[in-house]
Symmetry: C2
DNA sequence: TAGTGGTCTAGACCACAGA
DNA sequence: CTGTGGTCTAGACCACTAA
């Protein structure tokens, strides 16, 4: 069985192949991203997938375990394997680290101040690894809790990945929601935190008279396959027992 | 082959057992913690371990992969499996998230201001899940970089886990170094960040005249098996392009 | 060339969920 | 009861490392 390429694109040969379980994981990710398998749906069981992909059940299992670790799937013994809904609260909140004293994420509204589709700034091109002529959606919005603004967000997303985030309604959405709509699977993120005084326009947007110290959050979220999907510079009032919570292992 | 208990403590039976690969991982972790297998040493190969534990090579592989993910081991194809040295820079720095503009961790010295072995305060007992009468080592120290203090740390560690962290020399050590010495394997950590003004004694310890805004880092590190091992309240000057870096997936 | 971990297979039985 | 994922086995061959 040297060199064959079955109907599902898994490349089997003795030499120079990416491991089959990685190829299977990629195929699974592709079906989820493109909506072949929809959120909440049960996917075929292990032996069916093994037969379809022409590999053993053990190999499919390794691919499924990996996909579960990457938050694409949820497996439940005795029930089946299900596609995660990235717009569901538990997954949508995965990049949100501001919490109250009790450890709960803040609930509230979003007010969109401006939406723009334009060529990248110098900083956007560095953070999003884009060429100078490439384009982004640039959004400014305020997050509000308990009737009071607490965080100003300046967001940039490559137009290439999200063609047509035109409306204010889109601009207020969580990234995970847009990503699911535009067939983008999200992966890891990275955030740089520091503190600094609010610039006058920031203080105004947050409805505070003085120019208080803010927590500044500079964050990039990457796609499942490692391309930058969003850069966000957030400036956050930290009064009222608010915390940024980080976990590590 | 119902109910047997081989010489290495792995409990094999048809009913009610923890999975063998978890039992094997625990046995491996125990040997590393207690120094049966020393840092940098190569451990026996898969088939030897499989024979010794009386399980298949696949089961041992799963245990080893898990232990590697938990940073206990490093596996290298063609060479072998090696015990991680938790006092080596790469592992010792894993809980250190303050960086400079270039993303490098800050290098510098530590000055120990006080060391005390005493009964827990109310806050210590909450964070470290200790009873009111239990005891801790309480350390205050300052971190210095480029000749200037930048972070004040108030550390508490259960005496139970670290019996005899007496000297100032011990008190200046990284937690990972002490943990290795006291046969404690470390696991996940959790940190709560906020901002606040420096109290007078804090400003004094950091050698600043005014009372600047600081980043406050409230961190608990747990052992590999989930017991709190250290509570640290740090207060950090964030000037000179310093950042707290968080990663998430 | 010998020995290691990495991938893959084909099969068994178990634990769990739901009809 | 049936079907699912979870665990475990015994074996094969591959890729890499070092002597």
């Amino acid at each position: 069985m040297h060199m064959q390429n079955n109907g599902d694109g898994l490349h089997t040969s003795r030499f120079l192949t990416r491991p089959l379980y990685l190829q299977a994981r990629d195929a699974i990710a592709h079906r989820i991203a493109t909506g072949t398998w929809k959120p909440h749906a049960a996917i075929p069981n292990e032996s069916e997938l093994a037969r379809e992909f022409g590999v053993s059940a053990g190999t499919i299992r390794k691919a499924l375990d990996l996909a579960e670790a990457e938050r694409l799937l949820t497996r439940r013994q005795g029930r089946g394997t299900f596609v995660n809904d990235q717009s569901a609260a538990e997954h949508a909140a995965r990049y949100t680290n501001i919490r109250n004293r009790e450890g709960e994420r803040l609930s509230g509204d979003v007010e969109v101040l401006s939406v723009l589709e334009t060529t990248v700034s110098e900083k956007e091109s560095r953070r999003l690894r884009l060429r100078p002529h490439e384009r982004v959606h640039r959004i400014r919005r305020v997050r509000i809790t308990g009737g009071k603004p607490y965080m100003l967000e300046d967001v940039a997303m490559p137009t290439k990945l999200f063609p047509g985030v035109a409306s204010h309604d889109d601009a207020s959405q969580q990234l995970t929601v847009l990503a699911q709509r535009f067939c983008v699977l999200l992966g890891r993120g990275e955030e740089w935190l520091t503190i600094g005084p609010a610039a006058p326009d920031v203080a105004a947007a947050l409805h505070v008279a003085a120019e208080p110290m803010l927590l500044r959050l500079d964050r990039v979220i990457y796609t499942h396959d490692g391309r930058p999907a969003e850069w966000r510079l957030a400036q956050c009032l930290m009064e009222d027992g608010r915390y940024y919570r980080a976990n590590f292992r």
